[in-house]
């Protein structure tokens, strides 16, 4: 393992992060909210540490799979840690663990918060919180790849370790170009959303904040009532649509830009995603309407659509307290947390494509019991999926379940009830944000013990990086000489 190279490249990412902190610093000066010193100190510390790492001279530049995974894992842990500094240094979040939790929740686009009084926070800190969603959504390393030229041919390992989905692929032959295209699309869609929100009458600050949170599928808002604060049908619908868009594979937008309609139409993952959203919306609408929560069917539909798209895209915005909804609707929402968005999106969760592969391989196993000698392949988009990918998806799913159970066990020591404990583990591992009961839309994570908070912070990062990069970091064989 080339440890110096790992630390050095992770340091480059920190350099990008310290540059990102300049944005909330400007906001702080504009509003004069008094937190500018916290940002200046954080920038200095982050930048200083980054420069320290650049003193390390690696013996060689060989970057193999294991180094790639370690760089990504280490970068994310470091970025979350340093990202928490502004909260801590400003004195508004006294505990360092809480600060790091908040930053990890931001970068991993979870949106789970330990803040009790959101409106009492300074404007720049709220801005930073949402801005971390935007930066983390497409990936901090992909951002670094787009910004820093020539990280080397093998930087493909970095992108693969950070991108969502079972077999991430490039859009164009070069990694750097792919990263640039992804960010162009990301910025383009974000600008469109900001424009739409401005037209709905939001202030520029509110529009930007909610754009960041929607684009990264994060879920931080500047109001305790989240998007429900505006109580506007237009805002609800616009954000619902964009949450679904950001839950789609970004390759689709690339194909659209290239006018490659076929590739878009033949993408079964997107079709399944939209189908699941429609069916879930319909079921929830009927359920909450018949239970008498809303007077009109339209009102129920609006809330249901928003909540379903918010949960399946793992954003975590709320327009209604779904804690009070009937159990059936709540169960649907928890099921949607498992599914998550599409591969290659900013969303979390297991991902639609993995669910497709798992379902089809299950069907195949059933057919195999009927025809013991039969040869069946699992096909997605009329192409057979390699056996190695199928088994890695199955392994991934097992690990997810294992992490959920073990995480719940640790949380259960705090004794906050079954629903709270289990949904807290689910919602952090899948980067959703709100869970049920105490961690529901109106609740928060502040009551958990420090140990639980550390575990949840790790779960968020593990979930964002799709488990294996972080687990590899703790595997002794990877470090053995």
């Amino acid at each position: 393992m080339n440890k110096r190279l790992i630390v050095r490249l992770a340091g480059r990412v920190l350099l990008v992060e310290s540059a990102l902190m300049a944005v909330p610093l400007v906001v702080s000066f504009l509003y004069g909210d008094g937190d500018h010193m916290a940002f200046i100190f954080s920038m200095a510390i982050t930048c200083g540490c980054a420069l320290l790492t650049s003193l390390l001279r690696p013996q060689n530049e060989t970057l193999r799979a294991r180094e790639g995974f370690s760089i990504v894992a280490l970068s994310w842990i470091a970025v979350s840690f340093f990202g928490g500094l502004p909260f801590c240094l400003s004195g508004r979040v006294p505990s360092l663990i809480d600060s790091v939790f908040e930053a990890a929740s931001g970068f991993t686009t979870t949106g789970a918060t330990i803040l009790k009084d959101i409106e009492g926070m300074s404007r720049s800190l709220l801005f930073w919180r949402s801005f971390t969603h935007w930066a983390g959504g497409m990936g901090v390393l992909v951002l670094s790849l787009a910004l820093i030229p020539k990280m080397g041919a093998r930087s493909v390992y970095l992108m693969r370790a950070e991108s969502a989905g079972p077999a991430p692929s490039k859009l164009v032959p070069r990694v750097g170009d792919t990263a640039k295209i992804l960010y162009q699309l990301y910025i383009g869609l974000s600008l469109l959303l900001t424009l739409c929100l401005l037209l709905c009458g939001l202030s520029l600050y509110d529009a930007l904040l909610h754009t960041f949170s929607t684009a990264g599928t994060g879920g931080f808002s500047c109001y305790s009532a989240s998007v429900g604060h505006y109580d506007s049908a237009a805002v609800d619908v616009i954000i619902s649509v964009f949450m679904i868009l950001f839950g789609l594979n970004f390759a689709l937008f690339f194909y659209l830009r290239q006018r490659n309609w076929k590739a878009v139409i033949h993408n079964s993952e997107a079709r399944v995603f939209v189908c699941v959203v429609s069916i879930a919306t319909l079921l929830v609408t009927v359920n909450i309407f018949s239970a008498g929560f809303y007077d009109s069917f339209g009102g129920a539909l609006r809330r249901a659509l928003f909540q379903v798209s918010s949960i399946i895209s793992t954003t975590g915005f709320c327009t209604a307290d779904f804690n009070t909804w009937p159990l059936f609707s709540k169960c649907i929402l928890v099921a949607l947390m498992f599914i998550g968005g599409c591969a290659g999106s900013t969303a979390g969760g297991v991902k639609v494509i993995r669910m497709q592969i798992l379902t089809k391989s299950m069907v195949r196993d059933v057919r195999r019991t009927v025809h013991p000698k039969g040869v069946f392949t699992v096909k997605i988009d009329r192409r057979s999926v390699e056996e190695s990918i199928i088994s890695s998806v199955q392994g991934y799913f097992f690990t997810v379940i294992l992490l959920l159970v073990s995480g719940s066990l640790v949380l259960s020591l705090d004794g906050y009830g079954f629903e709270t404990t289990v949904t807290a583990a689910i919602t952090t591992l899948f980067n959703v944000g709100p869970g049920l009961d105490l961690v529901g839309p109106t609740g928060g994570f502040s009551m958990f013990s420090p140990v639980s908070k550390i575990v949840l912070t790790m779960w968020m990062i593990i979930g964002r990086l799709e488990i294996f990069p972080i687990l590899m970091l703790f595997s002794p064989t990877a470090w053995r000489k």
Partner: protein, 450 residues
């Protein structure tokens, strides 16, 4: 440029490696997932799983906007179909690898009918390289430029050579028609200047026209006679092409091939060649064919290890020229340290030929690149450019042209005459300019000047 490479074998992979380093956008198509996985992990290229002649795979690889498609699968017919399909679908320039001797006669017709822009035959190219080595047996490597007017010959300097320990500025007085274009010492490549002193053990490139080069080696006291008889171990395509190429050179060939059918076929196709059906790696067989008296031993079996061992045996027996074919190894200097100096690699030869074409297609305003040749294990490259009218470097004395470090303007060819340039010489429009430079420093002639 957008380049599609069909077939991720030895040649395909090497090409992808060089072309992506040159800054092109490369997409590889292959039906073997494992071969693709290697390329995907180690190179900055895009990989498409599928058959290269299949429309869907080609579309997925972006054939409509492809500038060049290179079909380099193991199958000649597939390569042809692939190029045909790609051309119909919009690829601008097609290159096919076709190597079966059965097709060589009908090649012109095939190429025209199938609209293939360029055909490469690795075995034939390798055979040509070997034939040049037989002509100048004292050379390690030879490459010709400017339609054969300039030869670049690599040789190893012995301590008894009269050029040892003299600065090049003095040597030039003695050999006015020879330019020393590159040297290798202790594994490092050097572009020499006037103060450079050649030492024993160096590998040096001497450049000039054919007669000057021959005279130079005669003056050095080297045996410049060509090889009279050669033993070939292995009777594959290369042996066949080599026999065809040197048919008129007066070299007697003995081909030793273990496979009876191949032997019969060679005997059927070739005249004036002795074909033996025996194991050429067997030292008994070699001894009984009078290996010590042979002018050259050329090892061309499919296995690198056997070629090496046989070659080493030839070196020990004192054969004047030993040539070894290597398929897999990248570190040719390893083999050179063992005493075998001439190593041919069909993979690298092919990659070199295609690289040249690709570079020639991506031309600049001020010059046309005619040829690129990798020397000293790829550490140094020699370029042949044609200077065009209106370029900024014309008619300025070279001493004022701030030439970049690590670049040497080696030879100018003007009106069919070679000029070994000095500071007072200048480049004129229409000149053929031969440069040597450390690999990766230049792409166009303009790049040579700061």
């Amino acid at each position: 440029m957008n380049i599609i490479i069909v077939g991720d074998g030895k040649v395909g992979y090497t090409l992808a490696e060089y072309l992506s380093k040159d800054g092109h956008d490369v997409t590889i198509v292959d039906k073997n997932e494992q071969a693709l996985a290697k390329a995907r992990d180690t190179l900055d290229v895009m990989c498409v799983l599928g058959n290269g002649a299949n429309m869907r795979s080609l579309l997925e690889a972006g054939v409509e906007s492809a500038d060049i498609i290179i079909a380099a699968t193991a199958n000649d017919e597939l390569n042809m179909v692939c190029c045909l399909a790609a051309k119909q679908m919009g690829a601008k320039y097609t290159i096919a690898r076709i190597r079966d001797p059965e097709y060589t006669e009908s090649l012109t017709m095939l190429q025209k009918r199938l609209d293939i822009d360029q055909v490469i035959n690795p075995e034939r190219a390798t055979a040509q390289e070997i034939s040049r080595l037989l002509r100048f047996p004292f050379a390690i490597n030879i490459e010709s430029f400017a339609h054969g007017r300039v030869e670049m010959v690599e040789f190893r300097v012995d301590s008894s050579d009269p050029i040892v320990n003299m600065p090049l500025s003095k040597l030039h007085g003695r050999f006015p028609h020879i330019q020393f274009t590159a040297a290798q010492r202790d594994g490092n490549a050097i572009i020499p200047d006037g103060s450079f002193e050649i030492r024993a053990g160096d590998r040096v490139y001497a450049t000039g026209d054919r007669n000057s080069v021959t005279d130079f080696f005669k003056n050095m006291g080297k045996n410049t006679n060509r090889v009279r008889n050669a033993i070939l171990v292995g009777g594959g395509h290369i042996s066949y092409y080599l026999a065809k190429i040197i048919a008129g050179m007066g070299v007697h060939l003995t081909i030793i091939e273990i496979n009876q059918q191949k032997c019969e076929r060679l005997a059927d196709l070739l005249d004036d060649v002795t074909v033996l059906c025996a194991d050429g790696t067997d030292q008994e067989v070699l001894d009984s064919e009078n290996l010590r008296e042979a002018g050259a031993l050329i090892c061309l079996t499919d296995r690198d290890e056997e070629n090496l061992i046989t070659g080493l045996y030839g070196v020990r027996e004192g054969v004047r020229k030993v040539v070894v074919k290597v398929n897999r190894m990248k570190t040719t200097d390893l083999i050179e340290n063992m005493g075998i100096e001439s190593v041919v690699s069909p993979k690298l030869t092919t990659a070199n030929v295609i690289l040249r074409s690709v570079r020639a297609l991506s031309q600049s305003q001020g010059s046309v690149i005619e040829k690129v040749y990798g020397m000293l294990g790829g550490k140094v490259e020699a370029y042949e450019f044609t200077a065009l009218e209106g370029a900024p470097y014309l008619d300025i004395p070279l001493s004022k042209l701030r030439i970049k470090k690590g670049v040497l303007v080696s030879v100018l060819v003007r009106d069919r005459k070679n000029i070994i340039p000095f500071g007072s010489d200048h480049i004129e429009a229409g000149d053929t300019v031969i440069l040597t430079a450390l690999a990766g420093t230049i792409v166009n002639l303009e790049d040579a000047f700061a």
